[in-house]
């Protein structure tokens, strides 16, 4: 947080404002929000907190185009008044300006996150509410959780001016998701019990989805950012020409474009970051794509369907420019020089924090707090499915894992590697999480070599060789390698410390830094070459139920048991699947029930049962709970929440509403 006294009051008052308005809910309640804004007007340097009655309701840039006859007037471009999405706006910015951003080489991820978070229903800025109105005005759910009635915004238009209708959703489901060439199996979120749902067009602005069984997590899943889950991400009037089912010439079109076949051309055309012609529902549309030149440019979408809470069309900022930078050190230098308006990726790391903190005044920017959704700096996975029978048996012994966990000096790691941030923590939900369980989070975290020896002895590893290292039951010295990705420098440092203290307990391990691709290659279920490896603790806060990797072997990123995970993902049918023990099977059964359960509380209850078993099983060894991360924002960029959780699932910072940002 800024130390400068001049910045502090602003930061606090703005944060309170945003927190206050989001608590009131996104839709409606304009007056309440507006008045709460006025009350704060006297504080700090808060400005523009009440809308100027004479201000324009659209950008002057668009007014010019309307006057020149190039664009229809505002009323015709936006949805009917009651169907516009109103975004709570602490300050009413003036229109205009060009946002200066950066992207690293061909990293489309930041563009996706910044521009492309327009799901059918949204997550709240603090990720504590899901299923809020998005591109859809509302979704009605029946009591069983099997029927979902989707209400579109009447009069809403794509960025090229064509109307958005129920046909677009029907197209997305029937022609895209149910197209066997594009999706050999129907996307999971359109199914229940493995059977696809049935869409039905009620009228021009209503579609009803009927699932064969309950689909309890529909609203949460639909709040995510990825295109495959966005029912309103497929403009029929544009995209239908590329599908052979709807256009017999599709194959020819692909050929003319120099593409192998129509699926290639389809993939090329649906990628908004490379195809500037694709109609969108986003606040800005690209004018220069990512794969051309040195700057990605975007300009405001004149048909955007959101307003601030006093009725002015969003976004406030007219243009975006993301310079393509080859190297993250150059980005850092640019940030220090104050050339980046807002960024929270690539270079906003803990080691760079001091450099950036020093430059805040000269570069005229501030820090935003990015709440970490990760629960661990480093989780050590011993391969419970190890290819070697002897090691497998040792690793599967819980006493062995407990012993190793006690033989880690977490305080030392925290002090020397992680700038004294955080606290010792197992691979368990964060203290901020509603699923936090102190006992789970702190079990076996005490650094105690005697206790470690006790557990290792109890695991049957009592014999030692002349160097004091423990022997395996077959008489060989117990040694194993811990794979670490070479670009996670801090993991290599931390793991080097861990290996030292393990040696004190008579366990010989070596750190094996690997290029990222090789690291991945070794840990697939098919290869299963790794003895042990390290990764961050994804999914500890806000995304606990979405990111299951550390709670039980649930997908290929559950590094401690990739073969059991394959059993789960393929229902035991996978080539490399291995039947897990009963407790793990029980977790998998519980996990399968969650999406079917329409009641949120019951879903959480099922999840708590899974966690209880994870705690008991103690699959992987956690080290240190990370402190909060940060992002940078120039001081002239306003209306940005000062603190928000970070999640790739919800395209952070997409969910904190870049369209309301403005230059003040």
């Amino acid at each position: 947080m800024p130390d400068s006294p001049a910045l502090r009051p602003t930061a606090l008052s703005r944060r309170q404002l945003v927190a206050g308005s989001s608590a009131l809910g996104l839709g409606g309640l304009l007056t309440a929000c507006a008045s709460s804004g006025t009350e704060e007007a006297g504080e700090g340097d808060a400005r523009n907190t009440s809308p100027d009655p004479d201000r324009p309701l659209e950008s002057p840039m668009l007014t010019e185009q309307v006057d020149a006859g190039e664009l229809p007037p505002l009323e015709e471009r936006m949805p009917v008044e009651e169907d516009r999405l109103v975004v709570p706006t602490p300050e009413y910015g003036p229109y205009g300006g060009t946002f200066a951003g950066v992207v690293l080489d061909q990293d489309r991820g930041w563009l996706d996150r910044f521009i492309h978070y327009e799901p059918t229903v949204r997550a709240s800025p603090q990720l504590d509410e899901f299923g809020l109105p998005g591109t859809l005005k509302a979704v009605d759910v029946n009591d069983e959780g099997t029927e979902f009635t989707l209400h579109l915004r009447r009069g809403m238009r794509w960025s090229d001016g064509e109307p958005v209708t129920a046909d677009d959703i029907m197209f997305a489901i029937e022609d895209v998701y149910y197209n066997e060439t594009l999706y050999p199996s129907v996307p999971e979120f359109l199914t229940a019990d493995g059977e696809p749902c049935t869409p039905e067009k009620i009228d021009e602005s209503t579609v009803k989805l009927t699932y064969p069984g309950p689909r309890g997590d529909f609203l949460v899943t639909a709040s995510r950012g990825e295109q495959p889950k966005n029912l309103l991400g497929w403009p029929k009037h544009y995209l239908s020409q590329f599908l052979p089912d709807l256009n017999p010439e599709a194959e020819k079109l692909a050929e003319e474009a120099g593409m192998g076949d129509w699926t290639d051309y389809w993939a090329d055309r649906k990628a908004f970051f490379n195809n500037v012609e694709l109609p969108l529902l986003t606040a800005w549309r690209l004018t220069t794509p990512l794969n051309e030149g040195t700057v990605v440019k975007a300009e405001r979408n004149p048909y955007y369907w959101k307003t601030d809470d006093a009725g002015a069309q969003l976004p406030f900022i007219d243009h975006l420019e993301f310079e393509i930078v080859q190297n993250d050190e150059v980005m850092l230098l640019k940030a220090v020089n104050g050339e980046i308006d807002m960024h929270g990726r690539n270079f906003t790391t803990d080691p760079n924090r001091p450099v950036l903190a020093d430059a805040r005044e000269s570069g005229d920017f501030r820090f935003l707090t990015v709440e970490n959704t990760s629960m661990n700096q480093m989780v050590i996975s011993l391969n419970l499915n190890h290819r070697d029978e002897v090691l497998r048996e040792i690793f599967q012994n819980k006493d062995f894992r407990i012993g190793l966990s006690h033989a880690i000096d977490r305080q030392d790691i925290q002090d020397t590697v992680y700038q004294r941030q955080g606290q010792p923590h197992q691979a368990a939900p964060s203290p901020k999480s509603e699923f936090f369980d102190e006992e789970y989070a702190t079990q076996f975290t005490e650094f105690d070599i005697d206790l470690a020896n006790e557990h290792l002895d109890a695991a049957g590893l009592t014999e030692k060789d002349s160097d004091g290292f423990r022997l395996r039951p077959d008489g060989k010295r117990l040694t194993f390698q811990v794979d670490v990705t070479a670009d996670a420098a801090q993991h290599s440092q931390a793991m080097a410390l861990v290996v030292q203290t393990w040696e004190q307990a008579g366990v010989k391990a070596t750190v094996n830094p690997l290029e990222r691709t090789l690291f991945y290659e070794r840990k697939t279920a098919a290869a299963n070459q790794h003895d042990a490896n390290t990764w961050g603790g994804d999914g500890g806060y806000r995304t606990e139920m979405d990111e299951l990797r550390w709670w039980f072997p649930s997908w290929s990123e559950s590094n401690y048991a990739v073969k059991w995970a394959e059993h789960f993902t393929t229902d035991g049918q996978g080539e490399n699947a291995e039947e897990p023990p009963a407790e793990v099977l029980e977790q998998m059964e519980l996990a399968r029930q969650i999406p079917l359960e329409p009641d949120e509380e019951k879903r959480k209850e099922l999840f708590r049962q899974i966690l209880a078993i994870s705690k008991e099983q103690f699959y992987a060894i956690g080290t240190v709970l990370p402190g909060d991360g940060f992002a940078i924002a120039k001081n002239h960029l306003r209306n940005v929440v000062e603190s928000y959780p970070e999640s790739p699932l919800y395209f952070t910072p997409g969910h904190i509403d870049p369209p309301i940002w403005y230059f003040g």
Partner: protein, 330 residues
Amino acid sequence: MLRYIGRRVLILIPTVWAISLITFIIIQLPPGDYLTTVQAKLAAAGDQPLDAAELERLSERYGLGDPWYVQYWKWISNIVLHLDFGESFSYNRPVSDLLMERLPLTITLSILTLIFIWAISFPIGVYSALRQYSITDYAFTFFGYLGLAVPNFLIALVLMWIGLTYFGQSVGGLLSPEYRDAPWSLAKVGDLLAHLWIPIVIWGTAGTAGNIRVLRANLLDELRKPYVSAGRARGMKRNRLTIKYPVRAALNPFFSTIGWILPGLIAADAITSQVLNLNTTGPLLLNALMSQDMYLAGSILLISAVLVVIGTLISDLALAWLDPRVRLRY
């Protein structure tokens, strides 16, 4: 002479073919392929990985499941038969387009650097030789070695830091953001020049240092030859004599390396370009290699290799023309 040229040209064909094959195999050598790199990158950035169906489609599209010789044949046959270098996986655009976008800047910078190197190294080299072991000679030698020894990217970082802290200059790229789209004006040219000197000086340092040393050593050899003494003894002016005879002879090695200029024109130092954020072919190649974007990396390397080979041919021919002993040996 014709026979000599014919031989040289015929040798080119298997050479280029061998280079293309080795290049392709080496690019394929690291574990995994383009898609595993993409997956690993997504995971490291905390983004969602691609789903299995998409992976399957891409793998099919890029032919990544095929054995390497099938992939090689696809690539090389398209180049030979259609002059089509294939498509970059990560940019989703033809390789030739990507190169065309970057070549003007790369070639401009290369030529300017070359001029810089010559303009600096020639007078200094001659001066150092004429004033051997003087204080100025030592000073130039000192800076020359410094230039040779310090890695380019380090100089780049230092210069950028100086530019940033003392001149408040926008770092990276060749234009400040405010001039990027502005029409050409005096101010824009000024801004361009303010950025342009950095890469030129950086790329120039190593070359300049090397050139100074070569020129100095050659010239020293020549200066001690009897014909110089003889010329002086017959009353020739020292400066006129030096420039007219020993310097001319000392320049010979420069011309035999003329072949290296050709590939140098399209290749830019990758690390320095990356640090300075210049949109040259250097970072394009580096990133292509790191992400195993095979056709892009392979094609850039192949084009460079062909230019090296052609350059060498030109050098050979020039040398044969200059020195009868060379062409008679064949």
